[in-house]
């Protein structure tokens, strides 16, 4: 890479724009300092939810599965802070452990979808032509299917189970990632600093590591968090109609479904698990929104 200085300087400046960025930690701190309160609030909420779920084992006052028909549908009291359900199980204990399965299923689905989608999207963008056209047609088709319905069909075919659930949800949810990754790949590839880096003779690997990944990670992460909230609600919906998380595991949506008949008598049994799903989904959605908003304003300035 030996060039006359006068020629190399402006090109290198362009190429350097993307490389000479501060470390991830510094950027994270800088991001928090910019007071994206939506983002910060999301992070704090999500951290609390995760902490509670991890420590649920030590926090639960009762065994979440212990039934006591004598203590059915009790209101909140000093012994049972949130009362008991129709089988006399302690509502608070069940609430604390009720997010485990849904969150894990949503997270696994999400990681699978993100990886599959990104790979397909990038390949589609790099291949172009007929491959690209066909892939995007399939994406167009799948993206319009309601994920709950596809999941229901697949459960009908493969029988219920967590494996089925994860496969079923992944089948539909890789599409938005594929579309985004394809767009990003095309967009970033066309950027002048990539051209500049190529002209300067940077290796393909260097370009991918230092330019493409740093520029693509933010939007993909934003999409990931937004979809995570969406997945969580979808998994809950399936559990609600009895096709998702199966008893005896406690699950927020399943708890709501089983308490539905007692809605008037014990509304808290429905309100609390719903609130838990809502707040968890809200926290990740806010994180995603925060990431996305920053991307947009950064784009405006450029």
């Amino acid at each position: 890479m030996r060039m006359p200085d006068a020629m190399a300087a402006p090109l290198f400046e362009v190429a350097n724009r993307a490389t000479s960025r501060p470390s991830i930690m510094r950027r994270a701190l800088g991001f928090a300092r910019q007071r994206h309160w939506v983002f910060s609030a999301g992070v704090v909420m999500f951290a609390i939810v995760l902490l509670l779920l991890c420590c649920a084992h030590w926090l639960t006052p009762y065994d979440p599965a212990a039934q006591s028909l004598l203590q059915r549908l009790q209101g909140p009291s000093s012994r049972h802070w949130l009362g008991t359900d129709h089988l006399g199980r302690d509502q608070l204990s069940r609430l604390l452990v009720g997010g485990h399965f849904a969150i894990i299923i949503a997270a696994v689905t999400l990681v699978l979808s993100a990886v599959i989608g990104t790979v397909i999207g990038v390949i589609s963008a790099r291949q172009g032509g007929l491959v690209d056209e066909m892939t995007m047609r399939i994406v167009d088709l799948l993206i319009s299917f309601p994920d709950v319905v596809v999941a229901i069909f697949l459960i009908a075919l493969m029988g219920p189970g967590y494996g089925t659930l994860i496969v079923a949800l992944t089948v539909v949810s890789w599409t938005p990632f594929a579309r985004l990754a394809r767009g990003l790949a095309i967009e970033i590839n066309a950027k002048s600093y990539i051209r500049a880096a190529e002209i300067l003779g940077c290796s393909r690997r260097f370009i991918i590591l230092r330019h493409i990944i740093p520029n693509a990670i933010r939007p993909l992460a934003a999409m990931g968090f937004l979809r995570f909230g969406h997945k969580l609600i979808t998994v809950g919906g399936l559990s609600f109609i009895g096709l998702g998380v199966q008893p005896p595991h406690a699950d927020w949506a399943a708890m709501m479904a089983s308490s539905q008949p007692y809605l008037e008598r014990a509304p808290l049994l429905v309100i609390c698990p719903g609130l838990a799903i809502f707040l968890t989904a809200l926290s990740v959605t806010w994180i995603g929104q925060g990431l996305e908003t920053k991307r947009k304003t950064a784009g405006d300035q450029a």
């Binding site: 319009s144 709950v148 319905v149 459960i155 609600i233 919906g237 609600f240 479904a257 809605l263 309100i271």
Partner: protein, 315 residues
């Protein structure tokens, strides 16, 4: 233009053909012998009687080759005959028709509510980005997308049906029973429509051709009506189609909660009861409709946006 429409219709037919193969294969992909399933549905106290199963298999034509069975099935399906439901014994096509009507009514009501609120809200937010309306709208949409409909539905029932007694808590009987489910279903599309309308209108209002139109003496309202709405509508139309297709069947949770006899509930019950003909027919119906709706949206998109029309005509 016509070339474009023809191309889209060809894609539509091809998709339907692929879908029909999948639908036909449903009983073979799922565990269990179709003949056994049928017998189980007919005879309450069922014990596997091999002779009866064989007889039924012959009667249903299950002993023919797979291709012959498929062609027979496709021929019947094209004539609107998807067989009889294992559970209700009624012709499947009638059930699907009734359920679709219910689901379309529900989806259109929900999306209507969403559009009526979202488009003015998004436009108002776009006229002053960062202003109070925009901040409020952004916050509301960020929150609405995180509300599960199976939480909003019981809350609605609790307040409007049980405490206030204004609306029925479930069922499908006239306008009053449509209100709660439509409102619950409208929340999430409302959020997305608002966001898309806002983004589209911000883009459009900053577009140079708006300044140019104003420099010719068009007032702000006239400019927005003549040059803004059409350009701004393009992304909203696409999203509307996506949601309409998604809500046919995608409203399953709400339909189950409110005991609404729509597509979602039909599929749900067919799965629970392993009602294969209903599953096959609803699968075909849902895919066909969503592809059809998206094709119509594509065509409408091309009508609204001459640039796309040209690109496709030359492609």
């Amino acid at each position: 233009m016509w070339l474009f429409v023809t191309r889209r219709l060809a894609v539509l037919l091809l998709t339907l053909l692929v879908v029909s193969v999948f639908a036909f294969l449903i009983p073979y992909l799922s565990d269990g012998d179709p003949a056994v399933l049928v017998l189980r549905s007919r005879v309450a106290d069922f014990q596997v009687d091999q002779a009866a199963v064989e007889a039924l298999r012959h009667q249903l034509g299950l002993d023919r080759s797979l291709l012959a069975q498929y062609l027979g099935w496709l021929n019947a399906a094209l004539h609107g005959d998807f067989g009889y439901s294992y559970t209700s014994r009624a012709p499947v096509i009638d059930q699907i028709g009734r359920a679709l009507l219910v689901s379309i009514t529900l989806a259109m009501s929900a999306l209507g509510i969403a559009i009526v609120i979202a488009v003015p809200l998004g436009t108002a937010a776009a006229t002053r980005p960062g202003g109070p309306i925009d901040t409020a709208a952004t916050f509301i949409t960020q929150t609405l997308v995180a509300i599960p409909e199976y939480w909003m539905a019981p809350m609605g029932i609790l307040v409007f049906a049980l405490y206030l007694g204004w609306l029925p808590s479930a069922g499908w009987d006239g306008m009053s029973s449509l209100v709660l489910p439509a409102l619950v279903l409208a929340l999430r599309p409302l959020a997305y429509f608002t966001r898309v309308t806002r983004a589209a209108m911000i883009d459009v209002l900053q577009a140079p051709y708006i300044t140019a139109a104003r420099s010719r003496g068009l007032g702000m309202t006239q400019t927005v009506l003549r040059h803004g709405v059409r350009n701004g509508a393009i992304p909203v139309v696409t999203l509307f189609a996506l949601w309409l297709a998604g809500l046919l069947g995608g409203s399953v949770v709400v339909e189950v909660i409110f005991a609404i006899p729509g597509m979602g509930r039909l599929i749900y019950e067919a799965v629970i009861n392993k009602d294969v003909p209903v599953l096959q027919a609803s699968f075909v119906a849902i895919v066909a409709l969503s592809v059809l709706i998206n094709t119509l949206a594509d065509i409408l998109y091309a009508v609204l946006n001459p640039m796309v029309r040209m690109a496709h005509a030359h492609a």
